[in-house]
Structure formats: C-alpha cells, structure tokens
Amino acid sequence: MTDSRSRLRRVLLWLIPVVLLLTACGEPEWRTKDISNLMPSLAFELTSETGEAVTAERYRGQVVLMFFGFTHCPDICPVTLGRLKAVLGQLDDDAEDVTVLFVTVDPKRDDLKALRQYTSAFGEEFVGLRGDRQALDTLTKRYRVTYGYGEPDASGNYSVSHSSAVFAFDRQGDARLLIRDSDPMEAVVADVRRLVQ
C-alpha cells in the first residue's frame, strides 16, 4: 500500500518537470486553428482569372490565403472575402506579401470574366482561380473540403454548398492555419501578420 503510494508520488514528481518543459518549449499558441500537422502543403494546377495556367509554385514566397466559393454566393463568400479585405487593410505594408486565392467551386457559371469582375471588387491581392472538374476535385480532396449543388429553381438559379474556411499557407507553401468565419477579426489579423513576418 505504502509502496504503491510512494511509487505514485514519484511518478507525479517526474511528471511536473516534463509538463513544464513541454509547455515552455512550445511556440505561443496560434489564435486561429493550427493545421501544421494535419494538412498537406499547397499544390494545384488551375487557370488564373487572366487565363494563364498556374500552379502553387507561382505563389511561393507569398503567404497564401485560399478560399473555396462561387460568385453567385449570397452570404458566406462576400462576407469572408470582405473580412479578408479588412484584414489586409490592417496589415499595412505586410499586405503586399499576401495573396488571396479565390477558387470557384461553380466553374459552370463562373467564367474568367465573372471571376475577374468579382475579385477586383475586393482588391488586387485577390486572384480568382478556376479549373475543370478533375483539377478542382484534386484540390478540394487534398484539403478535405467538398461542394455540392442544390436543385435549380424556375429561373435556373441553384444553391451551392461549399467550405466556409480560409486555409492559410506560409511562404514555403506549408499549410499552417485554418481560419473559421467565427474567428474574431483581431485574431485573424494577428495570426496572418505572424505568418508574414
């Protein structure tokens, strides 16, 4: 009895420095969701809104914020992109090193012209990307997101379900953060600034 109790005490005494060491060594916590060990680095083959074929290599050296949406989106997309625009506004000079990639999950309706018009409303850091079904599915599968189409109404409009998250990649193209629409603004600004610096 006393023997097992003293053994327990010894284990507990050992645990204290180990826990302290673990917490002391770790970097300060990110305020949005850290996905460093969960998701793969940035890779895709798509067409940019200017019509040129682009891969992820093109954006190495930049902090990339990637979002999946569609230009007919009534709520989540404009709100999210608007929020990102505000984030970039608060970053001042650091914003130059950030690119926002808007990948359309509705390539049928979103042609290059529609994409150009849509992203230009938010700023020059915003780039629209589109691809055929296969290229798009390769990318969405890689980041474990999906999309789906609702039934079209009388005038041919249909709703599209898509991911509401923004994926952030560092300058090396490694996946770092997942930004949710519920994350407070100042948390997003602080984390993106930390990625840039």
């Binding site: 969701k33 996905i35 060990n37 969960l38 998701m39 999946f68 969405t140 599968k141 474990r144 997101v145 999906t146 999309y147 789906g148 189409y149 609702g150 709703s159 599209v160 379900s161 898509h162 991911s163 509401s164 998250a165 997942l178 949710r180 519920s182």
Partner: protein
Amino acid sequence: MTEYLYYLLPWEFGLSWLVFCVGGLWLYYRGLVRRRARGIAPGVWRPLAFTVGMVGIYAVSQTHYDYLAQYMFFTHRIQHLVMHHAAPFLIALSVPWPVLASGLPEWRVPAGVSKPAMALLRGLYRVLQNPVLAPVLFVGLIYFWLIPSVHFDAMLSRWLYDVMNWSMVIDGILFWWLMLDPVTTKGGLARLGFGARLVILWLVMVPQIALGAYIALSDRVLFDVYAVCGRAWPLAPLTDQQIGGLVTWIPAAMMSVLGILVLIGYWLAGRGDDRAPAAGLTTTEGA
C-alpha cells in the same frame, strides 16, 4: 453502368482496408474449403454472417460511401454504426477464428520471432478484454471521437481519420467477441460468464443513449467541421446533426438489445461450457 461502377470505387484508396477485407475473406474461404473437405465446416449462417460483416466494412470504407461519411454528420454516424456495431457484431457472431486459422498459409515463422510476438499479443489482448476496461473503451472511443475539437481534427487529417476508423473496427470486433463468444469456459479456463455480459451490454447502452440524445436534442451546431469543409449536399446543419444524434442513439442501443437476445438464446440452448456441448447446435462446428 459505368456511373454505378464509379460509386463502387473507393473515394480515397486505403491499402490497409483492402488488405483487411480482401485478405480476411480470402483466408476465411480458404479455411472453409479445407474444413469442408474434412467434414468440419460450419453450415450456411456463420459464413454468411462473416461475409456480410466484412463486405459491410468494405462498403463504408472503400466505396463512394466514404465520401458521404466525410462530408455529412449523419452519414458519418451510420459509417461508425457499421464499423463499430453492426459489422463487428456479425463477425463475432460467426465465430470465424477456427476457420481463419485453417485458412492460414503454412509459413514457418522462426520461434525467436513468433514466441515473443505471440506473448505480446496475448498480453495486449488480455488487457483490452478486461471486463471493466473493454466496455469503458467501447463507450469511451465513441465519446472521444465525438469531442468537437477531436472530431474536427479527425475530419481534417487523412491519417487521423484512418486512425479513428480503425479504432472503431478493432475495438468493435474485440468488444463484440467478448460479448458473443459462445462458450464461457475453454479448455478449463473461465471466460466471461453470460450474466456479466448481460450487465455489460446494458451498461454500455445507457451512455450511448445519453450521448445520442444530447446530440439529437441540442439546439446549436456542435460539430462545425461540416460547415468548415462543406457538406455533400446543402442540408440544414441542425437537421444533419439531429439525424446523426438519432443514429448514435437508437440503432446503437438496439445492438445491445440484439446482443442480449443472442446471449439468452445461447443460455436457453444450454451452451457455455465447451466440455458439455448441447445436442444439435454444435454438430457442424468441430473443435
């Protein structure tokens, strides 16, 4: 036709699932043929139960169903119902171990490797099948993977997703085998008695009902990963969660009731002690 074929192909190919399902069925049918030649093969029902169980695991992991399971909460709950409850239940009910052993190829493993490996496995098995730990693990794993932050990571990461699903299948087979093993003594050694199993089956039912009801009756979205990653089709998040909660609640608890019925059946048939097999029931099994 090709479209149907597309839905039967894996959404994400996983070698471990293929090896487990195809390898398991191959071993089983090889063993079945050999046992039939010696006149000691089980009848029709046990091979059928084993086959349906294995095909079930394959269907929810290596067809397009896996896509639905990744991008909708209630379809994910159905996937786990198959992986952790229904399929392992059928596999355990089929008592496949002697048939699988007969199907093993005659490879010679050096005793220096096989002995410590078997000792390790036996020790691990004894710990996991402890009558207190096994039900705690069975319910604990359901709760653990449904902690919202853990669930979020598991749905985001390919390898965590695989770990989650494998933990369901392995724990499911272990648990249901502990519950549905038709004998209570083997070679003079006591296994878990029917009475204790009835208590365990009832005990695991209660927290599953509680969790399922909590999820189904919650008026806010608990698992936001499906909004973050997108849904398979535009279904209202709360509706998705309510159906998912019901799946966690009712059919999962029903499996305990089915298990209790099977045990009562064994009991009435006078089974339990392998030294005194009841007439009529064990004639086709052999040792």
